[in-house]
Amino acid sequence: MTEEAMLNGCLHNDAVAQQLLYNRFSSKMLSVCYRYAKSREDAEDMLQEGFIKVFTQIHQFQNRGALEGWIRKIVVHTCINNLKKNKKFAESVDIIHASSIKVREESVPSIIQAKQVIECIRILPIGYRTVLNLYAIEGYSHKEIAAMLDIEESTSRSQYTRAKAMLEDILIRKNILPKQKENTEWLAAVKP
């Protein structure tokens, strides 16, 4: 079935077309939500909210870009809005230094590397994780991230730098990344 026919059906609120669109993108979008959410259940709630927005706003999609990108944008914004409702997130995203974290073998399931990487990202403090997700994976600029999260652009940059360093260290410790460089200064804070 072509994307055009599916979109047309969704525009007519056709349940079959809506389900086809959902089936096509839900797994990818759930993994997006999962990177932001605290738990799988929270991720599914975000996904549900995101897709409801997708279907109710589908008339705004004007075929200018990829449908997946448009859906992803809505889902990411839904995730961010959900996170912003949480007070802890607001505090966390503004902190300069995250407290140290313990990385233990059992905290990272060794199923496949992609899953390991995602789980490693999820170990990061929520503020770090969000900025890292938005910048490194979703491709937003620091300016956009600052606007989305209501923080300074410089805060976004510093958060990202620290998040990246922390994640690299975790990935090295988990043997997902090769040991190519020495520990950075913040790694001293990371207790094995």
Binding site: M1, H12, D14, L30, V32
Partner: protein, 474 residues
């Protein structure tokens, strides 16, 4: 999303891994999304229907109660000279001048159930004649009993109470009272005390006077109960008539894109192209019935219809289906103005057979007449017909595509307002104020279920067996 910044190796690595990672949501997520996008409106309508029926029932009870209260208030209210017959010849007025204190002070309003004696008009007339002839002290045994026991005479349909016999000043044997409430009521009250005293002579004189001089008797007007309220249920078998074809005025439609339609007749008659079967439905309603005369009754009401039927189809890979082409030259489909839907059901040649249920929830306002053909007051044979403006509350209808190839839902093509008619015949049996009726009925939808731009016409049929209970509103 397009990258707006330079990505180093690490970021590329993260992005790649993130893209590789997939999680599959539970079925509940889609169910919730579907519920949100396509809310199930059945329950609100069913609830509204039940509420409507409940309100009707309460309303009927209220009307009935009000009618009774009207009588009761007439009974319980103090009786004025006007209510006692009106004019200047009221016996009550006369009585009040002769024995006013006893009557007024000792009259205690009681309801008809509180010991009132109910007699017929014939008894009353007999009593009146005998009383006139024999005077109060020599009344006939029958009427005498009525007076002595209850101190009151009450016409059928107009129960009233008058004198309280508990008063020590009254002798039940010699006190009489007739009364009806206002509006065609008759009430006269004569009382004589056996006690010695100055009143005796006056009272005897009053009783000796001809009654016709004293009482302006207006006989009660027996109004037939013209209104009745009815509740009914009718299990139905629903089906549909289809009409319309793929043919244009002159040119047959190109069927080259539909290789599996081998039968050329499919292009001529949609009935030949679809496979369907009836299913059970239900009608529930309430009516107010007005008796014009003994033979003819008019009725108006509200009715909830649930009609459905089954369509045999096949599941297939999703494909595009055209509906309601605006091209006047025919059903060539896929023109810019036609409605195109995604369909996963085929009329033929799918990978698995499936039964699609088309169902309609409608609210109708039947208005019509009933004609009694045979019968007496107990048992009747009646024929009836109604016209029913109908509003489509909700529906699930799979429409066949204009090339007869697919089925899909398209709510925008369903007509909201419609018109139906029904015919029925029934036998009714009366039990007191209630009347049971049973009999077959047939309901036919006069306008197509679909809007005019959809070339196929559908007319719903309901064959039902109606069971009704009606109650006379008094």
């Amino acid at each position: 999303m397009e990258r707006k910044h330079y990505m180093d190796e690490f970021e590329n690595f993260l992005s790649e891994k993130a893209d590789q990672y997939k999680l599959y949501p539970s079925d509940k997520v889609w169910e919730n999304i579907h519920k949100h996008l396509h809310p199930n409106r059945r329950w609100p309508y069913i609830t509204a229907g039940l509420l409507l029926i409940g309100l009707t029932f309460v309303g009927e009870r209220f009307i009935s109660h009000s009618a009774n209260t009207g009588v009761a208030s007439a009974v319980n209210s103090p009786v004025s000279s006007e209510t006692l017959g009106g004019g200047n010849s009221s016996l009550a007025t006369e009585s009040s001048s002769s024995v006013p204190k006893n009557i007024d002070q000792n009259r205690t309003p009681v309801s008809g159930k509180q010991g009132a004696k109910v007699i017929s008009m014939q008894d009353y007339l007999a009593f009146r004649e005998s009383s006139t002839a024999q005077k109060a002290t020599n009344i006939s045994p029958a009427t005498g009993e009525a007076i002595a026991d209850g101190n009151e005479l009450v016409f059928v349909n107009n129960p009233v109470a008058t004198v309280d016999k508990s008063s020590p000043r009254l002798n039940p044997e010699t006190s009489r009272s007739f009364g009806t409430p206002a509006g065609g009521a008759v009430m006269l009250s004569v009382q004589r005390e056996k006690h010695q005293g100055p009143m005796d002579a006056t009272a005897d004189a009053e009783l000796a006077r001809p009654w016709t001089d004293n009482v302006n008797i207006r006989f009660p007007h027996f109004k037939p109960n013209k209104w009745a309220w009815q509740f009914y249920v009718a299990p139905t078998v629903s089906y549909r008539n289809l009409s319309g074809s793929m043919e244009t005025k002159n040119t047959p439609v190109q069927l080259s894109g539909i290789p599996y339609i081998a039968n050329a007749d499919y292009g001529k008659d949609v009935n030949a192209a679809v496979s369907q079967r009836p299913a059970m439905g239900l009608q529930v309603g309430t009516s107010w019935i007005y008796s014009v005369n003994k033979m003819l009754r008019l009725k108006i009401g509200l009715q909830l219809n649930y009609s459905r039927y089954m369509v045999n189809a096949y599941k297939a890979a999703p494909e595009r289906a055209a509906y309601a082409p605006s091209d006047p030259n025919g059903f060539t489909g896929y023109n810019s103005d036609s409605i195109r839907l995604v369909s996963i059901y085929r009329n033929f040649n799918g990978y698995t057979s499936v039964d699609l249920t088309n169902e309609y929830f409608q609210l109708a306002a039947p208005m019509g007449a009933e004609l009694k053909l045979l019968g007496d007051r107990k048992v009747e044979w009646v024929i009836a017909g109604t016209v029913q403006p109908t509003y489509n509350l909700n529906n699930q209808a799979y429409l066949i595509s204009t090339n007869f190839k697919n089925y899909a839902e398209e709510p925008t093509l369903i007509r909201r307002w419609n018109l139906a008619t029904s015919f029925e015949t029934y036998v009714s049996i009366s039990t007191g104020n209630y009347k049971w009726q049973i009999g077959p009925q047939f309901r036919y939808q006069l306008l197509s279920s679909y809007k005019d731009k959809y070339p196929i016409k559908e007319y719903l049929l309901d064959y039902g067996f109606k069971i009704g209970l009606s109650r006379t509103i008094r």
